[in-house]
Structure formats: C-alpha cells, structure tokens
Amino acid sequence: MLRATLKSLLARKVRLVLSGLAVVLGVMFVSGAFVLTDTLGRSFDTVFSDAYAGTDVGVSAKPKIDVGEMEGMEVAGTFPASALEQVRGVSGVASATGLAAADGARVIGSNGKVLTSVGAPQFGSNWTGESGQVELREGRGPTADNEVAVNGAVAKAAKLAVGDRVGILTLQPKREFTVVGIFGYGGDRDSLGGAQEVTFTERAAQELMLGQPGVFSELSVKAADGVDPAKLRDDIAGTLGDGYVVKTGEQLSEDASAGLKEGLAFFNNILLGFAGVALFVGIFLILNTFSIIVAQRTRELALLRAIGAGRRQVIGSVLVEAVAIGLVASVLGLGAGIGVGALLAYVFGQTAGGLQLAGLGVPPAAVISSFAVGLVVTVIAAVLPAMRAARIPPVAAMQDVATPDRPLTKISVAGAVVSAIGGTLMAFGLSGTGGNTLLTILGGVLLCFIGVALLTPLISRPVVGLLGRLFSWSVPGKLGRLNSGRNPRRTAITAAALMVGIALVTGVTVILDSAKSSITALAEDTIQAELVISGAQTGPRPPSFDPAVLDQAAEVPGVAMVAGLYGDRAVVGGKQGWITATSSVPALREIYRATPTAGSIDSLGPNQLLVDSKTAKDRGLSVGDTVPVQLSRGDAQNYTLTGIYAESELFGGFVIPASAAANFAVPQPTQAYLKLAPGASVDQVMPRVETLLADSPEVSVADRADFIEQQAGQLDGLLTMIQILLALAIVIAVLGIVNTLALSVLERTRELGLLRAIGLRRGQTMRMITVEAVVISVFGALLGVAVGAGLGAAVVRALREDGITNLVLPWSEMGLFLGLAAVVGVVAAVLPAIRAARLNVLGAIAHE
C-alpha cells in the first residue's frame, strides 16, 4: 500500500510541488524568524559582553519611572559622587570609575541634520580613558568642557577629524565642541552594536547628559585580584544600602542583551505574521490539490477498495502523501528560512551601523517548529479529501468516472454557521467586553474567512456567471467562462485563497484611510494655529528644540500667541501615564478651543495642574485636590488641581507649567503652535520662524494644512508595510490559480484535443485558459474586496468612540485590486495556457 502511494506521488510531482510551495513559504518564515532572532541575539550578547568587559561589578540607581520597552525613553536614576568614594572604600575594590552616561547625544552632521541612527543608541558620557575595549585611535581625551572625543561610527557618519568643530544636541540646546580625539574598540571596530558615542569631560557630561552637576548614573568597579565579583557585589550593595542596583558585569551584560532581545520580538512577530498568512492560504491550496487528486484517482482508489483495501487504508494512503509533501516542504522551508534569516540578519547588521554578526545559528526550535508547522498544516488540509476518498465505493472502479456534482447545501449551511460565529466573535471582540480582545477579533476574522470560503461555491455560481459575461464576446472567452463555472468547489477554493489576501489588504486600507480622514477632519476642526513647529519622530526620543525659540517666536511681528508643548511619562497620583507641560496655558486653550468644566484654565502657577474632564471623572479628581507627581528626574512633588477642561479627541491628560519640564526625560519643547494676529500673513511669518530654528535641526515649521497632512501621513508608512506583507498572501494565491489551471488542463486533455481537432487555434486555446484564470482571480478579488470592506467597516464602526468617525471606502484602491487580480489571472494562466496550446492533438484525443 505504501509503495503504491509513493509511486503515484512521484507520478504527480509537479502539482505537488506547486501546492507544497505555499507550505515551503510558510515554514520559511517560521524558521527564518527563529534563525534571525537567534543570530542577532548572540550578536548582541557579544556586543554587551564587550561593553562590560572592564566591569566586574556595576552600580546604578533605580530609575524614577519604569518605562516599558515600547512606551518611550527611560531615564536612569542618578546618585551623588559621594557614592563613588564609598565604593572605593569597600575592601576588594581595585578601582571604581564614575560614569555620567545617557542616550541622547545627537551629533549634527555635515548636512546640518542630526545623524540618524536606526534603533542604536546615541550615547553621551564622560571620558574615562582607554579602559575595557576602548582604544584611542587619534588625539586624546577631552580635558576642557568644550572638547569631545567621538567613536569611529560618529567620526565616519559626520566626517569628523581631530580639530574639527561639531555641534551636539544634548539635554541642552545645540552647543559647539572641538573634536580632540577619535576612539574605537578592540578588534578595530568603529562601534559596539552600531551605537554612536560622544565623550565629554566629567563636568560637561554630568550637566549635558544627566542635567545635574556632581552626579553619576553608573559606577564601574574592578575587583582586586582573586576577589569574587559576586561577593564584591554583595559587599558593595551592603555598603551603599537601598536605592542602588548592584550587579556583576556578567549580569549587566545579560540584562542589557535581554532588553534588546525583547525588542527583537517585534521582528519575530512580523515574520510569524507572514508565516501565519502564508500557511492559512496554503491550507486552501493543499486542500484543493488533494481534492482534485482524489477526484482524479477515483477509479484507482475504487480498485484498491475492490481488491480489499479498507477505508482506513485509503485514508492512510492519502495522508501518507500529505506527510511526504509536508516533510519535503518542511525541509525546503527550513533551508530557505535559514537563508532568509541570514539575509535579514545581515541587512539588520548593516542598517544598525555595522553590528558584527555572530556566526549563523539554527536553534533546535527552528527545526522543530519547521517540521511541526509543515506537517500539521499539510495533514490538516488533506484530512477532508482523505475522508472523501474513503467514501468512494468499490463499484466506482467499474463505472464511468463522472462523479455527480454533490449538492452544495451542507457546505453552504456550514459556511453560514461558521461566518455567523466569526461575525459574533468579532463583534464581541470589537465591543471590547471580551477578555483578550485582539485574540478574539483575530479569531473572529479567521472564522469569517473560513465561513466565507465555505459559502464561496454557492456564491460562485451566479457571480462567476455574471463576471464571465464580460469576456463572452469571443468563443474562447465563452468556453473559458463555462470552464470556470464547471466545478464550483474548485473555483471557489482557488478564489478563496486569493480572497484572504485581498480582504486583509482592503480591510486594513479601509481602517487606516478612515482613521486618516477622521484625524484630518478633527484636526482641521479643532486646531486653531496657523503655524506649527514639530519634527518627525523615528525612535523612542521625540525631536525637540531650543526653548528660547518659544520666546523669540512670540516676538516675531504678526505672531499673536505661542504655545510650546513638552511631553513625558510621569506617575501622577500613583498611576503612570502621559503628561504635558506648556509654556502658555491661554495659548494652548485658544489653539485647542478648550473649555473649562470646573475651576480655571486661564493660567498655571508652579505646582498647579489641569486635567481633562474624562480623566478627572475616571480618577475621581476635583478642583482643589492635591495630587503627587513624580517626573523622570527629581523627587515627587505635590500639585494642586486648579482646573478641568472638557475632553476632546485631540488633546487630553494632565497639564503642568513649562517650568516643571526641566525634570522631563526631554526637557525641551517637542511642539509649538503659533497663532497669528488678525491680518498677519503666514508667508511673511514663516520664513522668520524658520531662521529661529537654525540651531534646532530636529524640527521645522509648517503651516496648518501641511502639519495636519504630516500627522495623518504617518499612517501611510504603516499602510505600505502591511500591503507589502500581504502581497505575499496574494503571491501564494497565484500559485493556487496556476495549480488549479494546470490540473484542469490535464483533466480536460481530450476536450482540448477535440477543440483543436475541430479548428481552435493555439492562440484561441490560450485565450480560453486565460479567461478561465481571469474569471477565477477577479472573482476572488471581488470577494476579497467585499469581505475586506465589510470587516474594515465593522472595525471602523467599533472605533467610533475612539474618534474614528468617518468611514472611508478606498474605491480607487479597490478598483486597483480588481485590476491587479485580472493581471494576476493572466500571469497565472501563462504556463497552463502554453501547455494546453502545445498539446498534441492526436495524443489528446486518444488520451485516457
């Protein structure tokens, strides 16, 4: 039995390769994700163990606010220089160095812009000499407060040489320094993990990076010979007491690496998302292939039954085939995944400014998951066809193959039920009452897809008929249309595979376009400023500018009011959240057209704060209450609530005066709104504001319309990314169409022979196949667009409370998808059509 199965498997390798390809792609992304994270993870391990090479024990202070990985910047706690002396006094300490280091030393390059860094930090610290891995290449360390030494990465990116002047943004606005030294790291590296590093004198580093003289953020301790770091760590911790975090160098490097690896999980999720979509669509493909194979093998299987094979053996023979395909696809997918992982790791290493990659690693998890996913998906997809095969009666061996079309009632009822469950689940998830909302929604969407796929055969009859009429002006077109309507199930599954990808793209487009339109409308309604100063944020640190600009801008003739905004995370009344500081409450009030609901929102004194009405209600706050506020730096302080403003979609949360922003992670304004005096012209004011921003290269000034467009445009990048991701699903669906057509051509060999015998030209034959493909793919796209628009509209409807009030259906994109589907059909038809046209007429007529 097994041998018979394997033989017939080999005989049909082409179509199995086609259907297996989807699984290969899915497995490729799964294993690629594992390989990438493993390789990058080990590379980071190396980077940090190098970075902490000279540290046996490290001391730091607890941060004032614990900020999550994806939420924003965390500001390290600081401690006084006296701690350094205390540590030096601990026995077993050979030496201890105080570090005043923080991310956020932004060097201005030769083009006047801040050097970019993709994810890697921009460290500023005090020069501590050639310790650990650090090696001076040229010049010396800084000895005066206006001198810096920079690492090779900075020198290269900004084209700096010893003696050059360079502008650097820190906690302070731009300052000029002289480059006195350039350093690298062991192994002639320019950078550790792509980080840009600038070193100042100790005093300058404390002021510029920590915002306070006489404090450190870290101590690096070297143990005396023969002293155990772990013991030394405990001794130091005991000496310093509470408030300090003391770890061995090894722990520090592990922790730092673990933090970055958490960030890598993001990449992993993208790749696994890819894999999920690929595999989901792949299931349709394999299901279809096996169904067709079982149909074609009806006689063979019936013969097996007639000569005594049991139902189980028949099911087994189909499943063995599935396992074989799954195995082959897993192996190929694993191989491709290793390649993809290596490639992505390389690209990542390059963009991260030359991260030195550790050797390529294939973790056991990659191998195990590849085989698990590949096998499970293939076998699941083959189960239904296998059960159908088992139902073939032995007499079928003696009868003509023509299996009657089974009625679609059962499958349609199942489809309706599954869709209904999916829809309910989605509604439940969207209403936000369920526990794990995102999972509920995704589950609902998945079920909707399966439900619609089950309903597709029913829908295909009328819709494919209608669609086909578009192409019926020629005889080949008509034949193609009839062929596409011939086997509703097959057409349906093929189209459904395409439906999934297009529905996802359409749905996401509907949601993002609606969000964009809603935000734009809202902003146009609300924001009462003619000019806005802001910049595009690329990392956790928001772009900021010199606070002096605020006062200078207010002096520009024609400017009536300026509201500078500072933002940070803070713990207010025991709860962490976003907080805003403003340079002018009246201006802010004017610009957002805020109205008071209690107290006054006309001004803010020191230690006074405002809040929106919704937060006030949620937190049970009323005017006059005292609220403790802990900012990123400094100690917690009590604030008095002096006013409550009506909540709006665009602006909300706690507001404190700009004087308090000195203790923000970024103590500089990140945005400013300028309201012009009546009669003043934007064209005249704008260039003058521009000149004010000469030393603040991270931001620029835009008029209101441009600003709103910029804000809304931030969604465009996301949209493009998602569209690219989902293009993959569509590629797989194309494979499905090719597969179905190739099988159809094979099945209809005699028919094609007959047509050719009575005079159908080669070109006409090709056109016939092409029309069939186009009808199927346009049908799939039509379904996808409809389902996607439906899903998208449902989500938009559910987000109405969150301010997405406009439903925008992207007609032109939807039209584009339909057009693309037609192209896809043409492309998919090429090979099968050529095959059909090349058919030997005589051989085809005699074909059994």
């Binding site: 005889v475 007959l754 047509l755 015998a757 009575i758 005079g759 006409q764 007429v841 007529i845």
Partner: protein
C-alpha cells in the same frame, strides 16, 4: 477529388521497435461519395484517417484535401484546414460537456468566426432530428443522440470532407443505424463527402464504396457493398492472410 493520398508511408518508432502502420497507400476519395475504410484491428485504418485529416504527419508521400497539400503545412495551416475544410466525428467524446447541443453544433463556425447559414442549419438539425433537444447538454443526451449532434456539428460548416472514426463503435445497432442512415442521406441529398473508418460490415454497407486495408496496404475495394459482400471480402482476405502465414 475531395481527398487524395499518394504513396503514403507512416512509420512509428525507430530501430527495433519500428512499426510501419502505412506502407505506400494510394487512395482517392471522390466528392459527394461515402467511402468506408475497413480492415482488421491494427491494419492502419485510424492511422490513414489521421494522416488524411491532417491530425498526424506522414513519413513519406503526400496528402491533398481538395487542392490543398496537407503535407508540409504548419500548425497554423493545419488548424485552418481542419477548421474550414474538414469535419470530424470520433468514436466517443465528441462534445464539450459545458455547451448545449446547439452550441456544440455551432462550435466550429463560432471558432472560425463565421455566421451559420440559417437555412442549412435548419436542414441539418431536422435531418438529425434533434430539434427538441437543442438546449440540452451532452450529459442529458443518449449516446446515439450525442453522436447525431456530432454529425450535425461536422455537417454544419459544410466541410470538404468529413472523417468519421468508428462513429457507431459505441452504439447499439438501432442507434448506430440512425447515425449511419443520416450520414448516407447527407451524401445522397447534400453532396457531402464522407470517409468513415469501421470494422463493422453492416456499417460499411451504408457506404457507396469500401476500401480494405491489411498490414498498412490497400488490398481490395468494393463498390455498392452489401453486408454480405463485405463479409465475403473480409473472409477472403482473412483466408489469404492465413495462407500467407
């Protein structure tokens, strides 16, 4: 002359496995005549018909349909020849399952982009007696009805020659007789030329002339055959063959 074969050889395979299916066949098929090709299984009947119809290439010799030299035509030329000058009736699987009877009948004309001659079409449909079945699909028709639709399709475009390979091979004798009678009428009444391959003496007797093939050569010929004369000739040929052994 509707079709002509001059010294046609057809050799399959090469070396040891070489089979000469036709060895120097010379045959002429007059217009408005119903010719049957007979012979034992494997004698080369189908091969001859395929070569005549431009479905297969010859190893040596020439074939003409009307004035057109078939040998030497490329795929496009052969397709055009089949479309415009030749009609086919196969033993089975003659019709497209997706099309109705009428659509099947009109198929060659539609493919060629030609308008059917309404009057002729009516005549053909009435002759085959399928007027009430025109909207049915092949699966809804009996085997005999399907073959009659195939005949009507072959006739509809008024080709120079209709080639039929065992058109009644899959039918019972009554349905077969209907089809054969219809073929004979189309020759007698509408001057259609038909070449039919068969191994059934009764079927052959419907033709006006029978040529006999054995081992790839024409060995005998009968004019105005009856089942008895055909059977006699076959027996005689069998006897010769046995004596030859």
């Amino acid at each position: 002359m509707a079709a002509r074969a001059n010294d046609v050889w057809k050799v399959y395979g090469s070396g040891e496995a070489q089979v000469a299916a036709l060895r120097g066949v010379n045959a002429e098929f007059e217009r408005a005549r119903f010719t049957a090709i007979m012979g034992p299984s494997g004698s080369g009947k189908s091969t001859l018909m395929h070569c005549l119809a431009g479905l297969d290439s010859v190893t040596r010799g020439t074939i003409h349909i009307g004035d057109t030299a078939v040998t030497g035509l490329g795929d496009a030329g052969l397709t055009k020849l089949r479309r415009d000058k030749v009609g086919f009736i196969f033993q089975q699987f003659n019709l497209l399952p997706t099309l109705t009877a009428l659509e099947n009948i009109l198929l060659p004309l539609s493919i060629a982009g030609r308008k059917p001659d309404k009057e002729w079409l009516d005549t053909v449909i009435d002759t085959v007696g399928l007027r009430d079945r025109l909207g049915h699909r092949p699966a809804q028709l009996s085997g005999g009805q399907q073959q009659r639709v195939a005949c009507a399709r072959a006739l509809a475009s008024r080709p120079d020659v209709i080639f039929a390979d065992e058109p009644t091979g899959n039918l019972d004798s009554r349905a077969g007789a209907e089809v054969l009678g219809f073929l004979r009428r189309s020759v007698a009444e509408y001057q259609q030329t038909i070449v039919m391959v068969t191994h059934d003496p009764v079927a052959a007797s419907y033709a006006g002339r029978v040529i006999f093939l054995a081992d790839g050569q024409i060995v005998s010929e009968l004019i105005e055959p009856t089942p008895e004369t055909v059977l006699d000739t076959m027996k005689k040929l069998d006897g010769l063959a046995e004596a030859g052994l």
